[in-house]
């Protein structure tokens, strides 16, 4: 008489049960959803800044070049050897040798109408130099400083300049941001697990009487447990969508404000890529699903 239920009947029964539970406990559920949304918002906010800083850094890095100031002009016969050594180091777009005269001529060109002031200076006033232009995007900031270290070992080098100080600040700021992103990801995870399992404990307590009757009537795990799992999944999925949606609105608003102020000439801020949005939503949904699974396994002996 009692065979397996038809799949549709099974699904309809479980969906109905889920809907009824949601209809009764939505105030608790939506508080938990808002908590999830807020923590996703905070985490994604830091992540967005971090990614944009990295993008800006890459763009600035592309415009970086190293200038090696020398004590003496390099003997033209030596130049091919040095050029080769530099090229061996990595992906270098260009190596230029600038003699004292060339440096002076360039400086004069830059001064334009005011080049009069150069008249009293000796023509060898400026030091000769080598300019190394890394290929765009191929040298990270770390490699750049390694290249600088290497270049300072060449003969007759007095100084290697590539905006170290600025880069170091930029680097340590990015490192800090990365830590902030990781810490907020960890807090987000803890917060989600805590919120979801607490919500489930609350709803379990509120439904204790009903669950006892369901047990007496012979309800199986799927019937009793699935609504709780669905709640976890919804809290994680909808909560993270809500958080990311708000972040997008904030992002739009901010970039509009900044565009008016003309600050964005340097680089265009980008929003989180679609795959990352999907990843965050999926991970939150799964995380909440698993914490509700853990919570019901602990407190439901059905």
């Amino acid at each position: 008489m009692k065979g397996k239920p038809r799949l549709t009947t099974f699904l309809v029964a479980i969906l109905q049960q889920t809907g009824r539970n949601l209809a009764r406990s939505w105030p608790t559920q939506s508080m938990s959803l808002l908590t999830v949304a807020l923590s996703v918002l905070i985490f994604a906010f830091f992540l967005l800044i971090h990614l944009n800083m990295l993008a800006a850094g890459a763009k600035l890095g592309d415009e970086l070049r190293l200038t090696i100031y020398l004590d003496e002009d390099i003997n033209p016969a030596m130049q091919p050897r040095i050029r080769e050594q530099i090229h061996q180091f990595g992906d270098i777009a260009e190596v230029r040798f600038i003699s004292r005269e060339q440096a002076m001529a360039r400086f004069a060109r830059r001064l334009g109408d005011e080049q009069d002031i150069l008249r009293d200076l000796a023509p060898d006033f400026l030091p000769p130099s080598i300019e190394v232009v890394p290929r765009p995007g191929l040298l990270g900031l770390n490699q750049l400083s390694q290249l600088a270290d290497f270049l300072s070992t060449l003969p007759h080098v007095s100084r290697v300049q590539y905006g170290q100080e600025w880069l170091q600040h930029f680097n340590s700021f990015n490192r800090l941001l990365r830590i902030v992103v990781l810490v907020s990801a960890a807090l987000l995870t803890l917060n989600m697990i805590f919120t979801v399992s607490r919500t489930i404990q609350l709803t379990l307590a509120a439904r204790r009487e009903e669950l006892e009757i369901l047990r007496l009537l012979g309800a199986d795990r799927a019937f009793v447990g699935t609504p709780f799992l669905a709640e976890g999944l919804l809290q994680g999925g909808l909560g993270s969508m809500l958080g990311l949606g708000s972040l997008y609105l904030i992002f739009q608003w901010t970039t509009n404000q900044l565009a008016g102020a003309g600050i964005l000439g340097l680089f265009t801020p980008v929003f989180l890529p679609t795959w990352l949005l999907g990843l965050i939503i999926g991970a939150s949904a799964l995380l909440c699903l698993f914490s509700s699974l853990a919570a019901i396994n602990k407190s439901l002996q059905v």
């Binding site: 008489m1 009692k2 239920p5 038809r6 009947t9 099974f10 309809v12 029964a13 109905q16 049960q17 009487e209 009903e210 009757i213 369901l214 007496l216 009537l217 012979g218 309800a219 199986d220 795990r221 019937f223 059905v302």
Partner: protein
């Protein structure tokens, strides 16, 4: 469907069943009985004789301390959780204290029993109106159970236990709050269920329920099965 013949297989079998509640209340002692499929049986005895205890042991809400209780040839301890749940859905129980959800409506309370058994929605609503008609509760479907009288609540509990047309129906004092007339409604429902193959075991003080109807009566006295047979 199932004719009551001597060859019908047993639905419930008890072998020398004993139950002792701490510290030393002997609720049942060496009770042996066999109830066939589709049989309608009454358990009687004075208060404290062990009627509810026997019903609980058969319904597997409790385990016997000695002896063995078989339902449909199987012992509870040997079933896994899923099998026990499936068996529960095939046993309707009318609890002495009803165990209804007071805030939920009459139909919701009954529907729960059918939903956990994954009955199609149409069947559920058809069955509910059929049962409410038999229990003379038509028109009270939407009423929260807590607004009903005790007797009406009792009939809701009976309707819920009968909803799945279970193989076994256990009823503990199902007419405790009902007048004679309404008690007959219950008896008629139980007879219909038994005729359709459900084994019905009813614990009751109410001799009017079984007297004059030629039903099998098990009489308990201080936990011991005294008589087993037809009473007139």
């Amino acid at each position: 469907m199932v004719k009551q013949t001597q060859t019908t297989p047993p639905m419930v079998e008890c072998f020398k069943v004993g139950k002792v509640y701490p510290p030393d209340v002997v609720a049942l002692r060496d009770v042996s009985l066999s109830v066939r499929q589709g049989e309608l049986v009454f358990i009687t005895g004075s208060s404290g004789a062990g009627k509810s205890t026997l019903i609980r042991l058969i319904g597997r809400q409790e385990k016997p301390d000695t002896g063995m209780v078989l339902v449909n040839g199987r012992e509870g301890a040997r079933l896994n959780q899923a099998q026990q749940q499936r068996l529960r859905r095939d046993i309707g129980v009318v609890y002495q204290d009803f165990r209804l959800l007071p805030r939920l409506s009459v139909s919701r309370n009954i529907a729960m029993a059918m939903e956990v058994d994954y009955r199609p929605w149409r069947e559920t609503s058809r069955r509910i109106s059929e049962l409410l008609e038999k229990m003379e509760l038509t028109g009270k479907e939407r009423r929260p159970v807590e607004t009903l009288s005790r007797g009406e609540q009792q009939r809701v509990a009976i309707a819920r236990a009968a909803a799945n047309a279970p193989s076994l129906l256990l009823a503990d004092e199902p007419t405790g709050n009902l007048d004679e007339q309404t008690g007959l409604l219950i008896l008629n429902l139980f007879r219909e269920l038994a005729a359709a193959g459900t084994t019905v075991i009813t614990a009751t003080h109410d001799s009017k329920l079984y007297r004059d109807h030629g039903h099998r009566v098990l009489h308990l006295q201080q936990g011991i099965l005294q008589t087993d047979g037809e009473q007139r």
